[in-house]
Subunit: 403 residues, 2 copies
């Protein structure tokens, strides 16, 4: 068990938190040797010893004393270059870049197997909640049926302000920006993309199957209307942005990211503000619920530290489940019940519902609740981008506490 000397890429909010946490950890036997940043001149809050900062990646890769790369850059292309370069050199990497990992995971797994170098990325999904590690190590059995949760802190903060504090959506979004929960361009969070990438990574470790993010139905909360909020409130429910992967038979599973009407009995109902919550359902243990801070510099840094310390003991993901026999196949041939709000777009005639269960029309807002195939939602994805359209999962049983 050697001392770990880290080459750190990225020194923004997360990078600086990583520096603080690792410098302060007495028993980590880890230190940060060099930090590579894009712009040396940029003013930063955290003071570091002279000569540690560099803008030349070679200063890290050519330093033979560095035996671990930690990569928290906010640029998927740069992250890809750093991670693949490190792995090719046989250097293990701890990364927090969900976008990059979700896009390149099959290649990164192969690269790990070819080079023997490990890539850990628990921080990429749900910040401080150890979802990846638990799915990989603890729920490594055939019993896993479903992983479902709130994976994005920013959108959850906004919806929480709306539903728990009765704030208008626009005001909540502004507040999220001011508090740093939402980026200056919050599209990535609000469109569901951030949740999608985390879900893709989770699915690899939950079921052993990689699904291309482009093949997964993803609908965010950007187009939520006051009428939708009002409707949910009247029913005593909240709308949450939910990501889920669900086994629908022994040999098939489905996955999607979509707002959902959530009733008070559900575990995720009480996941408020910037928190994340994940429900893991299995055949023997019923439901397990993990809850914690999903975003922010320090929660992410604590997750990075756990991965760094795991490297002292040579820990690596084995991706055991990917080699299992009879892996379930991804399908979108599954019927969902959805709520669809519309105004000008004629949703009831344009979307191929197999059954309409409720429909409502008024001068200001119309909605329909009906059953539809997930594959038909995907086929009609462009239609759903109209600003007057908002859809949400409308689960069939509201009152049982089942997730």
């Amino acid at each position: 068990m050697k001392e770990i000397r880290i080459g750190l890429f990225g020194f923004g909010t997360v990078g600086q938190s990583v520096y603080k946490v690792i410098s302060g950890a007495r028993n980590a036997h880890a230190s940060i040797a060099r930090i590579c940043v894009r712009n040396l001149a940029k003013p930063r809050e955290t003071e570091v010893p002279d000569g540690i900062l560099t803008d030349n990646a070679d200063d890290i890769f050519d330093d033979p004393s560095i035996n671990l790369i930690v990569e928290v850059v906010d640029d998927a292309a740069a992250s890809y270059r750093i991670v693949t370069r490190a792995l090719r050199k046989g250097l293990p990497v701890v990364s927090g870049s969900k976008t990059m990992i979700a896009a390149h995971l099959p290649e990164l797994i192969e690269l790990q197997q070819q080079t023997g170098a490990a890539l850990l990325y628990d921080a990429s999904s749900c910040g401080s909640i150890p979802v990846i590690r638990n799915l990989e190590e603890y729920y490594d059995n055939d019993l896993l049926l479903e992983v479902k949760g709130i994976l994005n802190g920013s959108s959850n903060y906004i919806l929480s302000r709306v539903f728990d504090h009765n704030e208008p959506y626009g005001e909540a979004l502004d507040k999220a920006r001011r508090l740093g929960f939402a980026e200056s361009d919050p599209t990535f969070d609000l469109s569901g993309q951030d949740s999608l990438f985390k879900l893709v990574i989770i699915t690899v470790h939950a079921l052993g199957v990689y699904v291309n993010p482009a093949d997964v139905f993803t609908f965010g909360i950007s187009n939520i209307h006051d009428a939708d909020i009002l409707y949910a409130r009247e029913k005593g429910m909240k709308i949450k942005l939910v990501a889920q992967v669900v086994k629908i038979a022994d040999d098939r599973f489905t996955m999607f990211v979509m707002p959902e009407f959530v009733a008070p009995g559900k575990y995720i109902y009480s996941v408020d503000n910037e928190y994340n919550g994940v429900v893991i359902r299995g055949e023997c243990y019923d439901r397990q619920f993990m809850f914690g801070k999903g975003a922010g510099g320090m929660p992410t840094a604590s997750s990075i530290l756990s991965d760094v310390m795991a490297r002292r003991y040579g820990y690596r993901y084995e991706y055991k489940k990917m080699s299992y026999s009879g892996l379930p196949a991804y399908t979108t041939d599954v019927s969902l019940r959805i709520y669809a709000h519309y105004l000008d777009t004629d949703i009831p005639s344009l979307l191929p519902f197999t059954r309409i269960r409720e429909s409502f029309k008024s001068e200001n807002a119309n909605y329909v609740i009906g059953d539809i195939l997930l594959s038909d939602l995907i086929a009609n994805r462009a239609l759903l981008d109209a600003p007057d359209v908002f859809i949400a999962d409308f689960p069939m049983f509201f009152l049982d506490r089942d997730d």
Copy 2:
């Protein structure tokens, strides 16, 4: 990665669940070779192939094809003999026996180090919730401040019937017995002993320190009175049986098991029925909450299966934290605010409160709320066993959602 052939000790509720789960797990590469029971003639629900059952432990220990012992016997002395015999033979063991492990952990750790054989026991604490594994592997850093939770399903079921369903305590206890949540002698659960043993194990993996169960203040719910229930209800609170280990300074921690008045904002407030819930608090990640089924054959068996599968990859607890420098020391020199109900026993004059904050007297029940040293509670432990006395932790701040 060889096939795992298991010698199973114990074939009661948990043992039979283990058999079902392992027999049905397609990718476990594990099978149950022999099952050792005390009484071969006892009728059992689960059918097994001829010749698998035995009442002679030698049939397992002398079978060279068996490479893992799974031990779920309901007898601490027998469990100790089986586990130590296996470890001495170099055979790894998966055990669910919290009483035995809590009592003998230092010796069992030494034995593992001497023989190289591993002992895993995630099932011993909180059934299906992977508390031990997460504390050992993921929260392995200096940032951990507190582990607090509801660790006993039976007592929580009873309190949940009382507080959520307005049932009298005696009726709730009967129901728990009928449903199999409480043993025919439920003393072990209701006295807090079960929670205590789990807490002792958790503390080893949380802080790297073993504390003898006899040195830990433990007070259960057996002596709860209608007046206590009424008092909590009037304040809008529930009483829960809570176990906790808390760092009170960098170099000191305390731990105890005691009923607690829990306000609605707290995470553990909503842990109902036979569920367990654990809050892990740390410096960076604030609070993490893990929630799931803490008892019962199948949840326990799923946890055993996870440990069995971890053995395929040679997983073992490293007890890393025990070798850390500057381990915190256990102290009982800490002030608590408690609620104490009494009738004939003159609690206000017999217990050395440092400050009385509230006192109430009536014809049927008296109570006092005051500050007292934990060490003074321990010194006066016998006094608290009087049937008219019930004490509960009365935390100072009710309204902040802090655990």
